[in-house]
């Protein structure tokens, strides 16, 4: 079908930007299923096998959900909540059980028949948002069947080099693991602007065209393909002239995007000269580069759960060391703050012994886990201290709620460093060690902690959750999760004042500093460092650069005198709206 003649295919512009590269075709995974008729005595074990596959799949989806939540936030992770519900859907499960029990069918066959039928009903719908459900149903179906067949999970992480990904469609789980690192652009046969592939591509900044219908038919691996995500078309085998045109427009697009980044090289300094360290939160080593491109001066929070959650085994010391070192070298001379692993809570892995608890956020997580599993903790600390020899590395502990915990953790650090010295392994002796200030207890004993920590980094997400006793994942009360609540402002003020009194720096690494109103208040409260999602940095820097510290300080002082969160928000937003009409407030 494919010839070397150029051919233009039109689809739906799903994610802006232009990419040119070699085609990599993601084939639909073949899952061969045989229909079997079971003997009566085989039925009970078959039902048990089906239930077991549902349980394993549930764990797998939870894992994906947690990864996505950390990386892209709660909203994106909700898709996987829905997948869990599809998995447990009473109609689907009951029909499958009926086919096994009454018709004596094998589980694979019964489940496939049930879910395919449901998916086809959704296929027939006209409204795109509703029709998209078919892809979710099929995604869940494939997961369960894969487990029933004992097939390993397929991952997009294995794609070699940089390619343009061409596929019939991407399942939500495949789309979740797209990275700019290996995927230059995306072209799919099906899908619309609101399909998972489109949403993920946009949030990762990968140009994409979807709904091309026959893209997979017209291309073969290795073909040159241009993806024009602005105009919604792709061109196979573009000639030299067209190639030049695509390249020129790609450059133009990046320039335009760069206009917002013009201030990238400029420091985050207020009109009256107060400088803020503006850094980025990252989860995977690869994201450090993106952070720098968006103007980060360092990494303010390097989450490390990724290493522990991506596969069912402990990450080795060398594997961690290489990753930490890579980031440290990349951002040098700016700092990278590595947070020791925060499993537990909503991130559990059976191989670590952490499990679903009744009250997970008050449970065995963060430093509590590390202090009990010291063998795992020491491996990570060794990797961090070794990486500290290669760059400006700091480390911090999550979930500290008492001085004992900090002392124990510090003692283990000392032990690990002594060991490294004895073995003559290079390490960073002066690596700063701080804490994530995220529990109300840490606020109340800030003076004691400040004596023995090198810095505080305020994790606003958890600090708000614990201080206001609000689980923002709970829809009934999500509206009570209010960063500008007077209790939060007072807690932050205490942390900053206490930290500064003890000559340590105080930063913030939660979502609060990525919100314009939050950023101005935090600036006024005297924070030294902000760390947030790389994508938010240009806007936050613009804000910091267009106010004076004096006025931000006055604003936060007046906000601290207000009695309710609504009053604070109204007051701050009014002030901001008159100053930054171009910024849209949420």
């Amino acid at each position: 079908m494919a010839t070397s003649e150029s051919r233009i295919l039109r689809g739906v512009a799903a994610s802006p930007g232009i990419a040119v590269g070699k085609v990599y075709i993601l084939e639909l995974e073949e899952l061969h299923i045989k229909e079997k008729s079971l003997a009566p005595e085989e039925i009970k074990p078959e039902l048990a096998r089906f239930k077991a596959a549902l349980a394993t799949t549930r764990e797998e989806i939870e894992e994906v959900k947690n990864t996505i939540r950390q990386e892209l936030g709660n909203e994106q992770a909700k898709v996987f909540d829905a997948h869990l519900q599809i998995l447990d859907d009473v109609v689907a499960v009951e029909e499958t059980v009926r086919l096994i029990r009454q018709e004596g069918k094998n589980a694979e066959f019964a489940y496939r028949r049930t879910l395919s039928k449901i998916a086809e009903e959704f296929d027939a719908l006209e409204e795109e948002h509703f029709r998209n459900t078919a892809a979710d149903v099929r995604d869940v179906k494939r997961r369960v069947i894969r487990h029933l067949l004992g097939k390993p999970r397929r991952s997009l992480g294995d794609i070699p080099g940089q390619v343009v990904l061409v596929a019939h469609d991407l399942t939500p789980s495949e789309a979740a693991f797209l990275t700019q690192d290996s995927i230059l652009g995306i072209a799919t046969d099906s899908g619309g602007r609101t399909s998972h592939a489109a949403i993920m591509a946009r949030s990762r900044g990968i140009p994409a065209v979807v709904g091309l219908k026959y893209a997979t038919l017209h291309m073969k691996p290795g073909d040159t393909l241009a993806v024009d995500g602005n105009r919604g078309l792709v061109e196979v085998h573009p000639d030299d002239h067209a190639l030049e045109d695509y390249t020129r427009r790609q450059r133009k697009f990046l320039e335009l995007e760069g206009a917002l980044l013009d201030i990238r090289e400029l420091p985050a300094v207020t009109l009256d000269g107060r400088q803020i360290e503006l850094s980025a939160n990252i989860e995977m080593p690869e994201e450090a580069e993106l952070a720098l491109r968006k103007g980060a001066r360092g990494v303010g929070l390097f989450r490390t759960e990724f290493f522990y959650m991506r596969s069912a085994r402990l990450p080795s010391e060398d594997e961690q060391y290489e990753a930490y070192k890579k980031v440290a070298e990349l951002v040098y001379p700016y700092p990278v703050i590595i947070r020791t692993v925060d499993v537990g809570g909503d991130k559990f892995a059976s191989y670590l012994g952490t499990e679903r608890e009744n009250n997970p956020f008050l449970g065995w997580r963060g430093i509590r886990f590390s202090l009990e599993r010291t063998e795992i903790f020491k491996i990570q600390l060794r990797a961090i201290f070794r990486a500290a020899a290669a760059g400006n590395v700091k480390l911090m502990f999550p979930m500290v709620s008492s001085l004992d915990e900090l002392r124990q953790a510090n003692a283990i650090c000392r032990e690990v460093k002594d060991e490294l010295r004895d073995k003559r392994v290079p390490y960073g002796e002066n690596c700063e060690v701080g804490i994530m200030a995220e529990t109300p207890a840490a606020v109340f004993i800030a003076d004691l902690l400040a004596e023995e920590a090198d810095f505080f980094s305020i994790g606003t997400n958890d600090l708000i959750q614990y201080t206001l006793a609000v689980d923002r994942g709970n829809e009934k009360i999500a509206h009570l999760y209010e960063p500008l609540h007077p209790a939060i402002l007072r807690a932050i003020k205490t942390l900053v004042e206490t930290g500064h009194k003890h000559d340590i720096w105080v930063g913030v690494c939660g979502e609060m500093c990525g919100d314009p109103a939050g950023a101005v208040i935090l600036l006024g409260l005297g924070l030294d460092e902000f760390s947030t999602s790389p994508y938010l940095l240009p806007e936050i820097k613009t804000i910091v650069r267009s106010v004076t510290y004096a006025e931000a300080k006055e604003l936060s002082e007046r906000a601290l005198c207000l009695s309710t969160a609504a009053d604070v928000r109204r007051f701050v937003e009014e002030k901001l709206a008159s100053k930054f009409p171009q910024i849209t407030l949420p």
């Binding site: 909203e75 909700k78 898709v79 909540d81 829905a82 519900q85 599809i86 859907d89 009473v90 109609v91 689907a92 449901i118 009903e121 959704f122 719908l125 409204e127 948002h129 509703f130 998209n132 459900t133 979710d136 149903v137 829809e475 009934k476 999500a478 509206h479 949420p586």
Partner: protein, 89 residues
Amino acid sequence: MVERTVRIVNDPGLHLRSASSFVKTAARFKSDVWVMKDGIEVNGKSILGVISLVAEYGSSITIRAKGDDEEQAIASLATLVENRFYERE
């Protein structure tokens, strides 16, 4: 048995994410929950059932609940729908 008819006020309607919130809320109650639209009734605790109603923005659905906590169930579900499922954006 109690029932209440509510209008869908979120765009694009009772699709994947909002249906997910709906089912999650319904599951918190012991009562049986059904949702009806255009003469079709589905189990209110089945996400696939709820989405299949294609309750778009502007349409109306009737929620029924039967059981010990039917009053609370219907009140919570109606509030959820009326408040656009507390979706952001």
